[in-house]
């Protein structure tokens, strides 16, 4: 796997610190959500991204406003990075009237068209044909926008992902397919669900490039994504980026994840994307204690404010259960 270094897409010191802020915000959001689930404040629908934040930050960083994202169920951070406030996302998880779906569903099943965010269903991989449709409109209009379609290595086995990649490859649509390979599809390890080691190899069958990278290295993810985006914007079609990673928690907060060993978890925790990046930033003298404290204080305040907003928000009116069915 490539080691951390700056590649051809240059980032300023401010941008690097902004990346650190996002990594920490998303980590803190998920950590707080876990506590809220255990306290019974949030009922369910929590799929922690802890351990996988570098993928969200590395792929979303630098996206244009009109670029579209089609996140998977674990990518809460993409909503934040695309412009939804932490308060609204927290209210969404609380199923409050101020959440994106007004309490109709929790998790990430709601989108925001003005911000270029598609909200998928629970049918994993079903977001990828939608991503291809969005990308088709960019191609028809001759725009240089791109669509990022996220899915896990588990969802890569669905027909939808195959159909979407085949179609996108055929018409060279501006899609970046991001596979978050976190080893387990719920409880089933990758070797029990596919005969190959790298999902990236499948790209060849669709006529575009696939690359497997270290998904815990935010800069590696950023560089690979920017390369894929540049190709897509230039009309050269899709790329599949497989980000090797690991989720620290179970599939959902209700899953104790007995199917894996403590040693395996400890090994992956030693590859935590946050300290790796922090160490790098210190070594480059981009980060010092003062700046770190500033970021951590800001993150804590924003998460606290988000929880307060969600707690203070009203529940939906019962009658809203049967509205918004038709336009």
């Amino acid at each position: 796997m490539p080691s951390i270094k700056r590649h051809k897409f240059k980032l300023t010191d401010e941008q690097l610190l902004e990346m650190l802020y996002w990594l920490k915000l998303i980590r803190a959001f998920d950590e707080r959500l876990s506590i809220l689930v255990r306290q019974g404040r949030v009922r369910s629908g929590v799929y922690s991204s802890i351990g996988q934040e570098a993928i969200v930050v590395g792929t979303c960083f630098g996206l244009h406003k009109e670029d579209y994202i089609c996140p998977l169920h674990r990518d809460l951070g993409t909503f934040l990075m695309k412009g939804v406030s932490p308060g609204v996302m927290m209210a969404q998880m609380y199923a409050k009237a101020t959440g994106l779906s007004k309490g109709r569903d929790s998790a990430l099943h709601s989108g925001v068209s003005e911000l270029g965010i598609f909200g998928n269903t629970s049918m994993l991989g079903a977001n990828t044909p939608v991503a291809a449709g969005l990308a088709l409109t960019y191609k028809l209009e001759g725009r240089d926008n791109v669509v990022i379609a996220y899915f896990g290595e588990g969802a890569s086995n669905t027909g939808d992902v195959h159909e979407a990649m085949n179609f996108a490859g055929t018409h060279k649509l501006p899609v970046v397919f991001v596979c978050e390979n976190n080893v387990y599809s719920y409880s089933v390890p990758i070797e029990k669900s596919m005969a190959i080691e790298d999902v990236a190899d499948r790209a060849e069958g669709y006529g575009f490039d696939g690359v497997a990278i270290n998904g815990n290295d935010v800069l590696a993810v950023y560089q690979a994504t920017q390369g894929a985006i540049a190709r897509a914007r230039a009309g050269d079609g899709p790329t599949l980026i497989e980000c090797k990673t690991y989720r620290w928690h179970g599939h959902s907060e209700h899953d104790p994840a007995f199917y894996r060993t403590d040693e395996e978890l400890a090994m992956w925790k030693s590859r935590d994307p946050l300290p790796t990046f922090t160490t790098y930033l210190r070594s480059r003298e981009v980060l010092d204690d003062t700046k770190l404290l500033e970021i951590e204080t800001r993150v804590r305040q924003e998460i606290d404010a988000a929880v307060t907003f969600a707690e203070d928000s009203p529940h939906p009116e019962p009658g809203e259960a049967v509205t918004d069915l038709y336009a």
Binding site: D105, S110, M123, P129, L136, D160, E163, A164, F167, A327
Partner: protein, 326 residues
């Protein structure tokens, strides 16, 4: 007024809507240069270009998912399922993706797609080219379902479906493609979604039907009239939301109701209409609501077997006679 066939009426609606609104496009298997398995999209690619009559891989789920994505950016895709039977391969994108989108977005988005599906039997189609899938979609909130029986409605309802801001399942009956010929206005004549049509007025029995069964029902009504039984035939045209008021109004006159459909009996439209009439118009009934439908069986290929299963004028006449005698 000039007369055209049902199939041409569908094509005319597509062409006019595509000319009117550059955001309207069609996509499906073989819909490009070939013009579709039934020739519905013939000429569209030539006139509007490759991407507005777009050949898709054999990927029904992708066809509908792509439509959903395009609709989120203001497009009005019309997806063609080559046969209604194949719609099962795109079922998830319809019932989970498209139908729930507005609801789960908190009312901040809509999904204006049309899924056209050639349905129905009596065309030597066998198990996988004859089915009537309407109940699956009528059963799902968030979708609208239409099923024209005339060339006029085929055009007018498709225009309404394309302009509707919701996902609409448009069921076109293969038996009617060339057999249903009639007057069709040129230009913009919209048939509103949700409105039934009285195809024949009568005072003794209300017969509610749709699709190809309108033809069999009218034939039965003609024969019954000669015996002195006066049947009112209502063509639902829209199956979801179906026109309760039109059915109730007819029932006030006749006090007897027969529902005829080509779909299988269990949990078909007849079951729903019957239940609603019981709940809301029980006092109007002089007899039980009755049904003539396909049996709860598959669609066999052999003509002998298929004719055994299909509802027809004979079966309808018999049922109306029993209902009138009750």
């Amino acid at each position: 007024m000039r007369e055209i066939i049902y199939l041409e009426a569908i094509r005319e609606a597509l062409r006019e809507e595509m000319a009117r609104d550059p955001k309207v496009f069609v996509l499906g298997e073989d819909v490009g240069a070939y013009g579709g398995a039934f020739g519905i999209t013939k000429g569209l690619q030539e006139e509007f270009g490759e991407y507005r009559s777009l050949d898709m891989p054999i990927s029904e789920s992708c066809i509908i998912g792509v439509s959903v994505g395009a609709s989120l950016r203001g497009y009005r895709p019309v997806a063609e399922m080559q046969f209604g039977d194949f719609i099962t391969c795109g079922f998830d994108q319809i019932v989970n993706q498209a139908a729930t989108l507005r609801y789960r977005y908190g009312g901040r988005a809509s999904c204006p797609i049309v899924v056209r599906a050639p349905v129905g039997g009596n065309v030597a189609g066998g198990l996988y080219h004859s089915q009537n899938p309407e109940s699956w979609f009528v059963h799902r909130p968030g979708l609208k379902v239409v099923a024209p029986s005339t060339a006029w409605d085929a055009k007018g309802l498709l225009k309404a479906a394309i302009r509707d801001d919701n996902p609409v399942i448009y069921l076109e009956h293969k038996y009617l493609y060339r057999r249903a010929k009639g007057p069709v206005p040129e230009g913009d004549e919209i048939v509103p979604i949700g409105k039934a049509a009285v195809r024949r007025e009568g005072g003794q029995v209300t017969l509610v039907t749709y699709g190809a069964m309108v033809i069999a029902s009218l034939e039965a009504a003609d024969r019954l009239a000669k015996e002195g039984v006066d049947v009112e035939v209502i063509d639902l045209r829209t199956l979801s939301p179906w026109d309760k008021e039109a059915v109730f109004a007819s029932l006030e006159k006749t006090n007897r109701l027969l529902v005829v459909h080509e779909d299988v009996k269990t949990l078909g439209l007849g079951a729903e209409i019957s239940a609603v009439v019981m709940e809301e118009r029980f006092e109007s009934l002089d007899a039980p609501v009755m049904r003539v439908t396909y049996p709860d069986a598959h669609c066999p290929f052999s003509a002998v077997l298929e004719q055994h299963n299909l509802p027809n004028a004979d079966k309808i006449v018999e049922a109306v006679q029993a209902l009138a005698r009750y």
